[in-house]
Symmetry: C2
Subunit: 215 residues, 2 copies
DNA sequence: AAATTGTTTTAGACTAGACTAAAAAATATT
DNA sequence: AATATTTTTTAGTCTAGTCTAAAACAATTT
């Protein structure tokens, strides 16, 4: 499988996680910052290889085979991210682009050894689940902070947006995975939140709250 | 720089280490298992980028810029090999192909952090020197076992041939980097060697002896 | 020095993956 | 239901890197 094929599979996989319906050509094109015509070409190729179900004008979905392949790419991506943060001391906002490269290294043995080396983690540094060698995923029950009620408490277990900007903002506010969070007040006017992070009280916007997962 | 460009640079670098004369198109083609015409095309491209000195029909050599680029690729290759053996517990005959992939990951920061993580090694698992971040190489004074006299003793510090077959042979004979070697006898008829490896006495062919570096 | 042999380059073709522009199909609007 | 708009596909072009076959050059032999 080529780099490009792998990137398409991964993108379709991520889009399918959001909406189960057939994924549109345009949605893929937008996410990959490419043109719809390029997507169509690739979809034909992937369909030829039985990695996607593709019917002209009706979008695609992954086949079983495609889904497994995609999960293996996600597995690699998240294991490498974990390696970079845990072992090489990168910060969580730096690792995405590197993992985008590393996820294409071809070797099952390597990734399984890396998995062992890291102690078979089930989550990456952003709180996302790492599929195991068989593609199985340990679901984490989590909730968006924005959907929680006043006075609820919990632990920050993940982020929805993983953009560098957002992650840097969290660092600045000293919000990290594992941080203890308590909802002190919800401001109905602008939907902002007054929360306590460990011992510190801060105000965060609705946008921030809707990108933080709490358990 | 593309993968392909990097592979050409690396190949030229390795060939230059053997003979300082201009490297021939054919030599490159053979080493890379490609055709001479493909090599010519690429040499033009590399010359355009001022990575090689190329004059039609007269072979190539690396420019300063090309040499540094090549060293950085070798640096990455050897650091990844070291990582695979030291941290992930691969054997020394398994790591080459993987490192061929990993050496193309683009990030200075990553490779420097990896270097630190490994404790800034100066040699890889085959005893080859690892260039530092500036391209500087710590020369190891070493000698081919085949060029040493009777009764000399030393430590195995490297291998010339790094093929999987050869390395597996060494494992079988329990010859490793750091092994204590003593030359007991040189057989003039077939140039074979009777040597002691640690406490064990064995006979090795001239071919084996001429691929082992001793200090 | 001419002829033969071997090496290197050129010319032209191919593939993967991307693109633009135009055509076709699907969806939305009146 | 007919039209307008949007989405998707097709057709054709481009680039990087490879290839084959033929031509040009270099080296060797006679």
């Amino acid at each position: 499988m080529t780099f490009s094929e792998e990137n398409y599979l991964k993108t379709i996989y991520h889009l399918m996680a959001v909406s189960d319906a057939g994924i549109s050509t345009n949605a893929i094109a937008e996410k990959m910052e490419t043109k719809a015509s390029s997507v169509t070409d690739m979809l034909k190729k992937l369909a030829e290889k039985e990695l996607v179900n593709y019917v002209k004008y009706q979008g695609v979905s992954l086949t079983e085979k495609g889904q497994l392949a995609a999960k293996m790419i996600v597995r690699k991506h998240r294991l490498w991210e974990t390696f970079l943060v845990e072992k090489l001391d990168f910060s969580w906002d730096e690792v995405h682009d590197l993992a985008e490269q590393l996820e294409h290294i071809k070797s099952e043995k390597l990734i399984n050894k890396l998995d062992d080396f890291l102690g078979n983690p089930t989550e990456d540094p952003h709180g996302d689940a790492i599929p195991d060698a068989n593609g199985r995923i340990t679901k984490i029950e989590k909730q968006l902070l924005s959907e929680m009620d006043k006075n609820r408490v919990g632990i920050c277990v993940g982020v929805k947006d993983t953009s560098s900007d957002f992650l840097k903002y969290l660092d600045k506010q000293e919000i990290a995975l594992g941080s203890h969070i308590e909802i002190i007040e919800k401001e109905s006017f602008d939907s902002s939140f007054r929360i306590r992070v460990e011992t510190k009280e801060i105000t965060i916007s609705h946008k921030i709250a809707s990108n933080l997962y709490i358990k």
